[in-house]
């Protein structure tokens, strides 16, 4: 009886399990068939819920093949980020993954960066990139420095070809911008006719200017200089009449680097340019031969001039003992009234001095314009050794993302008068460093500097309607206008006006055009440390009178003997083979 009962329960359980299995089977079967049905529907009709899928697919297609098409879903890309000092001056609460740029990109393109590393340029970033390349594990998007690294990546097959996305996903404006640099720029990122990276563009910075304290000129009752000679007399007067008032006025500031180049301060580059010299660059001489600019007769001439200035006490008498930071201090304390600097000098270092004493009215002067224009004509070689390139990891499903990024940031936000980009453009006036951008490159016209100033000036002159201005221009326009009508008295306001309007205006008046550069390809044209030191010491000795000016000839001989000759020949050969 008991056994009987047990059996019955068992059979009931079995039946239940069987039923369950049956039901499950049919359930999954129906699911499967449903899915197939849906797919079928999706592929056949355009009605109902399947329509949304189709619309999405179309949107995605559009996003992947146009410069500014917005992705239907947020596309996240991992990134190796070059960070700036002081968190790039980002407003409090903003990060490299969440700032005006990333928010703008999210809004316009629906893309978001996810930083694998955020390291400062200098050593650590390069190391991290190196390790990533060696590990063959690079982020989706990466900025590499130096053409050699780019070539390494191409050779290793780690990066995606971007020829097509460049064609499809950059705006015409972006293409125009790249074309303004000639072929050599894009060519540097191209191998076997295939584009592998988006190169950084370095807009033309014009020529160095002489910045003098106009308030001192007025104080001493002098005339504003029109020639180099007059300018030197003004500086001499500063020193002799002790404009600072405590017997410690120094003359023209000069760093021990002598030549500042494009991104250093307190060089006396202007003197070299006035002498028709292009030191520290590979150039073509009058005969079309490659020569190193520092060993030319023009350079010797410039050094002679500098030596004379030193002797005449126009050049800072103790310049040898100072570092740039000491000169910064002298500017702040008002002991120096004359420096050489590019158009951006008001941003660095003059705004710091303005901050301390807003009466210090620095004014740019471009003198001896003919000679400057003459010097500008010298053909200078451009090396891509330190050039920045943006690459995309091979296999990343949205290789077009960089082209779209470039279009959005450098065309849409700047030139399209896009109200969504206001926050981005406001970053210029609150002095947020461009390193805040996810990708550390800049893409603009080579003559962007002049174009921008032209537009701002036109708007200030009311010959151009403000609404015609691009976002960036409008931002500067507003700042300059506020400065001019006295509403804005900050150093930033002054710096925007002095650089964008005054300094670039000087350059424009002089008709300075951008210099044409020659590409230096497949050759290591870097000057070794030894030769750099030899050069610097020679320059300093000559200027300070430690050695006579004719020592320059000895230096040239030494320079060639210590490897300069080989180097020159190498560059010559590379140039000639490139020409053919």
């Amino acid at each position: 009886m008991k056994n009987d009962m047990k059996k019955r329960i068992l059979s009931a359980q079995l039946a239940l399990i069987l039923l369950l299995m049956l039901w499950c089977g049919t359930y999954f079967e129906t699911k499967e068939s449903q899915r197939q049905m849906e797919q079928l529907e999706a592929s056949q009709s355009e009605s109902g819920a399947s329509n949304a899928v189709e619309v999405k697919r179309k949107l995605m297609y559009k996003a992947m093949h146009t410069p500014l098409g917005k992705y239907p879903e947020t596309v996240t890309y991992t990134l190796g980020k070059i960070a700036g000092a002081n968190n790039s001056n980002l407003p409090v609460g903003n990060t490299y993954e969440n700032n005006a740029y990333t928010r703008y990109l999210k809004k316009i393109l629906n893309i978001q960066n996810e930083d694998v590393f955020e390291l400062q340029d200098g050593n650590t970033y390069e190391e991290a990139v190196n390790v990533a390349i060696e590990d063959r594990d690079i982020p989706d998007v990466l900025v590499v420095k130096g053409r050699d690294n780019l070539l390494r990546l191409i050779e290793a097959g780690l990066i995606e070809e971007l020829t097509e996305t460049y064609e499809e996903c950059t705006t015409d404006t972006i293409k125009e911008m790249y074309e303004s640099y000639g072929d050599s720029l894009l060519q540097s990122a191209t191998v076997d006719g295939k584009l592998y990276a988006f190169p950084n563009t370095v807009i033309d910075d014009g020529t160095p200017l002489l910045w003098l304290r106009k308030d001192w000129i007025e104080k001493l009752g002098l005339k504003e200089p029109e020639t180099v000679g007059e300018a030197l007399e003004v500086i001499r007067a500063f020193v002799e009449q002790d404009a600072a008032g405590d017997g410690q006025t120094i003359g023209l500031a000069c760093s021990t680097d002598v030549v500042a180049g494009a991104d250093q301060t307190y060089g006396v580059d202007a003197t070299f340019i006035h002498a028709g010299a292009m030191p520290c660059h590979w150039i073509l001489d009058k005969n079309g031969n490659v020569v190193y600019g520092s060993v030319t007769q023009e350079t010797k001439e410039a050094l002679l001039k500098l030596h004379n200035l030193y002797e005449d006490e126009i050049l800072d008498q103790r310049f040898l003992l100072r570092k740039t930071e000491n000169i910064d201090d002298l500017l702040k304390t008002g002991h120096c009234g004359a420096i050489c600097g590019r158009w951006w000098a008001p941003n660095n270092p003059l705004s710091a001095a303005y901050n301390v004493d807003s009466n210090a009215e620095w004014k740019p002067y471009l003198l001896d314009k003919e000679q400057v224009n003459e010097t500008q004509k010298i053909s200078v070689f451009e090396s891509y050794d330190q050039w920045m390139y943006v690459v995309v990891r091979k296999g990343y499903e949205h290789p077009e993302i960089v082209a779209k990024y470039v279009s959005a940031i450098f065309d849409q936000s700047r030139y399209a008068n896009d109200s969504a980009a206001r926050e981005v453009n406001d970053y210029f006036s609150i002095n947020v460093d461009p390193t805040a951008r996810p990708l550390n490159i800049n893409v603009d016209y080579e003559d962007a500097l002049y174009r921008t100033t032209e537009h701002i000036q036109a708007a200030l002159d009311k010959t151009l309607d403000v609404s015609e201005l691009s976002g960036l221009e409008k931002s500067y326009f507003n700042t300059c206008k506020s400065y001019l009508n006295g509403q804005l008295t900050t150093a930033n306001g002054w710096a925007a006006y002095a650089s964008r309007i005054q300094a670039v205006g000087e350059l424009q008046k002089a008709g300075i055009t951008s210099t044409s550069t020659l590409p230096l390809e497949n050759v290591n044209a870097e000057i070794p440390q030894e030769l750099q030191e030899l050069e610097q010491e020679a320059f300093l000795q000559i200027i300070s009178g430690e050695k006579p000016v004719d020592y320059f000839d000895t230096f040239v001989v030494e320079w060639y003997a210590n490897g300069g000759k080989v180097l020159t020949e190498r560059v010559q050969n590379a140039y000639e083979s490139g020409k053919n």
Binding site: T256, Q317, R318, L320, L321, R322, K323, E325, N326, D329, L540, Q541, S544, E546
Partner: protein, 569 residues
């Protein structure tokens, strides 16, 4: 107060012995438990305090010695730099061109003074001040005039070559300065500027979790004071070691080389709170021990005293009349001995009592037999029979009746020598007696019988009613002035007893007198004899009582358990 104590003592004295014992045991237990708890607590508190102090000392020792080690490194570095001839050249050689100086500055001084800052992140800068340096060169080489702005400058002429100074405020930094002499005048100073936060980090990092600290430089200035404490613990003035030492555990340590005093402190309350918590933790343990003590005290005292209590109760019972010893003990202790001797004493007493009783009953029995033997029943009956017949012949019916009654009376009284009789026979007996008495009294009183049926076969002692009736007639009815003297005889059945009652409305007596009838001192032998016999035969189960009121009459009743089986004494 005194009164209360006295009251308390009084109450205690009146407590039962068992309770007294419990209380005493509880007190005896509580005192050592309390003492133990207190001494443990005290020991623990001391230990905690010592530990706290020790911990603070250790903490401070650790952080200070790690700062000392660091500072030793910096000191060595400064020493190394100051012995460097290259560095000395910078301020020793005087006449040379700017270019020569430039070379020395850039190629020698800069690497020498900047390199350490790269390897030691705590070093912010190393600067050489000298009169020989005319123009500031970066922050590595500065003219002596620049040194005048430095805080250590005023103390430059003090003793040692190497000096440490520490400043707070906006320019907070730790500076090691080293002098170079040229004969008697200070020619140059090497200054190493250290990151305040980084150098003091081992100390600062300790200041968490209700800990405060401060640093006093060798001049007695407080150069650092911080405390991370809950608001309620915060000292009013975190920069006064004197104030703080009053309310906080404060330890102090002087750093080597610099002579700075490091203080670290913690509020006493915090550790005392911990102690109080510990105390709270002990309370349940103490409570449990108290509970255990009371329980054990109760159990033990119960065990100790139970025998005594039993004994006391037994004694009380005996006092009330029971002569039985129920308490027992095999124990050899005093209580056991007491119980056993009590038992022996009672046994002896009972023995004596029963001896007296038995001898008395025997005497009664023998008296009875003697009485019976005196009367030859056959001779008596024959005589009475002849008298009866003669009286009938003579027509004297009354004599005949009396003779018959007398005959019945004797027959039932003698009862063939049996002491027990049936109710029926006893009724015959009493009726015969009363008939004779009525004749003797010329029917001067009335007899009212109230006798239930069905009791005839129960056995009862013989001659229990006659003495009562005789008593009632002699002492009640005969001496009464009552015009209608009556004697009631009642026999009825009760649940387990048979109830007999002889009542008269005669003279009566005081209850006191009535009670005396049943005692030894009584003269009424017959009544007392009845009582004795009932008592002997039935003990507690039987009962006999006399109730009397003077002038109203007397009532005597007997209760005898129902009994159908013969019982012979």
């Amino acid at each position: 107060m005194k009164k209360q104590i006295r009251k308390l003592i009084h109450r205690f004295e009146n407590l039962k012995f068992r309770k007294k014992l419990s209380v005493l045991m509880l007190i005896a237990g509580l005192v050592p438990v309390g003492f133990l708890a207190f001494s443990m607590q005290y020991g623990m508190m001391n230990q905690l305090r010592e530990k706290e102090q020790y911990n603070l000392e250790k903490m401070l020792e650790q952080s200070v010695s790690s700062i000392e080690n660091q500072s030793q490194i910096y000191k060595n570095l400064v020493d190394y730099l100051s012995y460097s001839q290259n560095l000395r050249n910078i301020f020793d050689v005087e006449t040379e061109s700017d270019y020569e100086k430039y070379l020395k500055y850039v190629k020698v001084a800069d690497p020498l003074l900047q390199m350490p800052t790269i390897y030691h992140k705590e070093i912010q800068s190393i600067t050489l001040y000298s009169d020989n340096i005319e123009v500031p060169h970066g922050d590595t080489l500065l003219p002596m005039s620049e040194a005048e702005n430095q805080q250590w400058y005023s103390r430059l002429n003090e003793g040692t070559l190497m000096q440490w100074s520490i400043t707070r405020g906006v320019n907070k930094s730790i500076i090691a300065s080293r002098k170079f002499y040229d004969n008697d005048t200070i020619k140059a100073v090497l200054e190493m500027r250290l990151d305040y936060e980084k150098v003091l980090e081992p100390f600062m990092s300790q200041l968490t979790d209700n800990t405060g600290g401060m640093i006093q430089d060798d001049n007695g200035n407080i150069v650092y004071a911080e405390c991370s404490m809950d608001k309620k613990y915060r000292p009013k003035d975190i920069e006064s070691p004197k104030d703080i030492s009053e309310n906080y555990y404060l330890v102090q340590r002087t750093m080597k080389d610099t002579g700075w005093n490091f203080y670290i402190y913690r509020p006493k309350e915090v550790s005392e709170n911990a102690i109080h918590k510990l105390l709270l933790k002990n309370i349940p343990i103490i409570l449990i021990s108290v509970l255990l003590l009371s329980f054990l005290g109760y159990v033990f005292s119960l065990r100790m005293v139970s025998q005594l209590e039993l004994l006391t109760e037994n004694m009380n019972l005996i006092n009330m009349g029971l002569r039985k010893v129920t308490v027992q003990s095999k124990s050899k202790d005093e209580v056991g001995v007491l119980i056993r001797s009590f038992r022996r004493m009672m046994d002896q007493m009972n023995h004596l009592i029963s001896e007296v009783y038995e001898s008395k009953i025997q005497l009664q029995n023998s008296e009875m037999r003697a009485l019976q033997a005196q009367i030859n029943p056959h001779f008596l009956y024959n005589s009475l029979s002849i008298i009866n017949w003669k009286a009938i012949e003579a027509g004297e019916d009354e004599i005949s009746h009396v003779t018959l009654a007398l005959s019945t009376y004797y027959r039932t009284s003698l009862n063939r020598g049996e002491t027990m009789t049936t109710v029926a026979k006893e009724i015959d007996n009493i009726r015969a007696y009363l008939k004779i008495q009525l004749v003797m009294h010329d029917n001067e009183f009335r007899v009212v019988e109230q006798i239930s049926d069905g009791l005839n076969d129960y056995l009862i002692p013989k001659l229990i009613l006659q003495p009562l009736a005789e008593n009632a007639i002699d002492h009640g009815i005969d001496v009464s002035d009552n015009e209608n003297p009556t004697l009631w005889l009642t026999i009825r059945e009760e649940a387990e007893h048979i109830f007999f009652e002889i009542r008269d409305n005669g003279a009566g007596m005081t209850q006191e007198k009535a009670d005396q009838i049943l005692t030894y001192q009584s003269s009424g032998y017959g009544v007392r004899n009845v009582c004795d016999r009932i008592h002997v035969l039935y003990g507690e189960k039987g009962e006999m009582k006399i109730e009397s009121t003077p002038g109203k009459g007397t009532r005597v009743f007997i209760r005898i358990p129902k009994n159908t089986e013969a019982k012979v004494l």
